[in-house]
């Protein structure tokens, strides 16, 4: 049956040499180098921000993280600056945005995948993509001129009727313009399209067989969604929300346009006054002195960079590892 006698020990696999041509080896090297460029850039960003921020460490030491003033260019104030108020404000606005954006994103994503007939899906998805493409600057100025007056009405209503809840109380009185609430709503509007896209992709991969089984057992559409689609999409929902969080933390221009900048954290979101690191850098860059002010801004930027890096990496890991997210692009 077999040709010839086998003298070779055929049980041990042999080494297969790919023997690539030189052109192929160059091509692979170049492509891999391109892939590593991202790592290099990330590293450089961190490095250079850190280097440029060193004078700020010298001026402030650890108090940079625990105080809420911003006078880096003034010798009388001892060149002090502190990022705490900014950091808290950033998180405050981001959380407000998340609370509004995530539920609407989930519901809209469900609408697109479960409630809409096939023909309507493409145009609606196009609308969604277009919303995501509108520059944040335009959101900002539209928000300032058009949305803010209406939102002030909402703030008034909330303060008057729900003001007993500490979150909605307004100890500063009826001053509702340029508040963290308004900035948060605007950032939410910007986040919703991208968050919806992520969740929509996730929900659309829900296993058809399980969905049909749920319906065949007599479940209503909403019950089926709750029992099959939402649990399946859990990873995508969490990951998508964290991604939205990351973007919200980094928003600068639109917040800068809306908010009235203060440095102490304002926990009463309906009242005027708030800040975020991004908005602060945008506002202050113009007149920052290279000796102290600029390093302080660099230091604040470094804080923001590290924060968003962590949030985004965790988000991407959650999405990619989840059952629903493995094929999804964020």
């Amino acid at each position: 049956m077999s040709a010839g006698s086998d003298t070779m020990n055929a049980e041990a696999p042999r080494a297969i040499r790919p023997e690539r041509t030189r052109a192929d080896r160059v091509y692979r090297g170049v492509a891999i180098a391109a892939g590593l460029v991202t790592l290099v850039v990330l590293f450089l960003i961190g490095l250079f921000l850190f280097l440029r921020a060193i004078p700020a460490w010298r001026d402030n030491g650890w108090r940079f993280f625990t105080t809420s003033t911003w006078n880096p260019d003034s010798p009388t104030a001892g060149y002090h600056s502190g990022v705490l108020g900014l950091l808290l404000g950033t998180i405050q606005i981001a959380l407000i945005a998340l609370v509004i954006a995530v539920p609407i994103a989930i519901l809209t994503a469900l609408f697109l995948t479960e409630y809409v007939p096939g023909r309507m899906r493409r145009p609606l998805t196009s609308v969604l993509d277009l919303l995501a493409a509108v520059p944040s600057l335009i959101y900002g100025i539209w928000g300032f001129f058009f949305l803010q007056p209406h939102l002030i009405g909402v703030s008034t209503w909330l303060a008057n009727n729900l003001g007993f809840i500490p979150l909605f109380s307004t100890p500063d009185g009826p001053f509702f313009a340029a508040s963290p609430f308004i900035a948060g709503v605007l950032v939410a509007l910007m986040l919703m399209p991208t968050a919806t896209s992520v969740m929509r992709e996730v929900f659309s991969q829900a296993p058809q067989g399980e969905k049909e089984a749920a319906l065949a057992l007599g479940g209503s559409r909403w019950r089926m969604i709750r029992k099959v689609v939402l649990p399946f999409g859990r990873g995508g929902i969490v990951g998508g929300s964290m991604l939205a969080l990351g973007r919200a933390l980094g928003e600068s221009i639109s917040v800068a346009i809306i908010i009235s900048a203060v440095f102490k954290f304002n926990p009463y979101m309906l009242n005027t006054g708030g800040n975020s690191i991004g908005a602060h850098i945008a506002n202050r860059f113009g007149d920052a002195q290279p000796a102290h002010g600029l390093p302080a801004l660099m230091a604040a930027g470094l804080v923001l960079f590290v924060l968003t890096l962590i949030v985004n990496t965790v988000a991407s890991l959650i999405v990619r590892r989840s059952r629903s997210g493995s094929g999804v692009e964020i």
Partner: protein, 275 residues
Amino acid sequence: MSTTDTIDLTGPGWDAGPPVTGDLVAEGVSAWFGEHKVLEQVSLQMAPRRVTALIGPSGCGKSTFLRILNRMHELVPGALLAGSVLLDGADIYGPGMRPIQTRKRIGMVFQKPNPFPAMNVYDNVLSGLSLSGGKAPDADELVEQSLMRAGLWKEVRNRLRQPGGALSGGQQQRLCIARALAVKPEVLLMDEPCSALDPTSTRRIEETVLELANLVTIVIVTHNMQQAQRVSSHAAFFLAAEDEPGRIVEEGPTERIFEGPEDPRTADYVHGRFG
């Protein structure tokens, strides 16, 4: 009987005389995917001017064996092999042997027709050459000759500039054959080339295979026993017992395998008692 044009054996590059090339011999080939062994000590001689058919039920490693013959097996991560494959006496897995060179001498036609959609018919036929940076001195003649040999010339001679994906399934597969032939290989491997096609296209491709046997050594994997009988002069019967790697149970002239097999398992298979 043949509906294709007569094949001109004296076209560019094809010598009417010796030396005979395309002698392919597998010696003790075993294959793994990671820890999982899929082929056990397969040895087979695939002589020139012959069509050798690899038959057997699905999952016995026929396609894997075929891919080992033109060094496509190693593209799968975790693929391992033992043994050697000799083309005209030289081991294609030997030191210094480039896979690219091997694949130019041993061509392959796949189960699912895959012409390049970004090229028209003309460019598809020449793609093997243009992709490797070669130039055909007489491109038009080469295209015509390859398409004639693949039995497609009459149907596409006026459609050479149409996209490759615009043809029917059977035509696409013959285009892939023409494309493989244009590189002037010594051996042509065919992995169930007709399984995705309708009966008429299948018949035409079988006719093409018979005519090509004079030019290239052909090794064809097929599920279809009647096809194996129609087309091949030699056959090898592969079988894998449950949880066992695939082996060749019996091989020899096709007539003997189908009419007087020595091994009872072969007899069972060719008489349709399992498959």
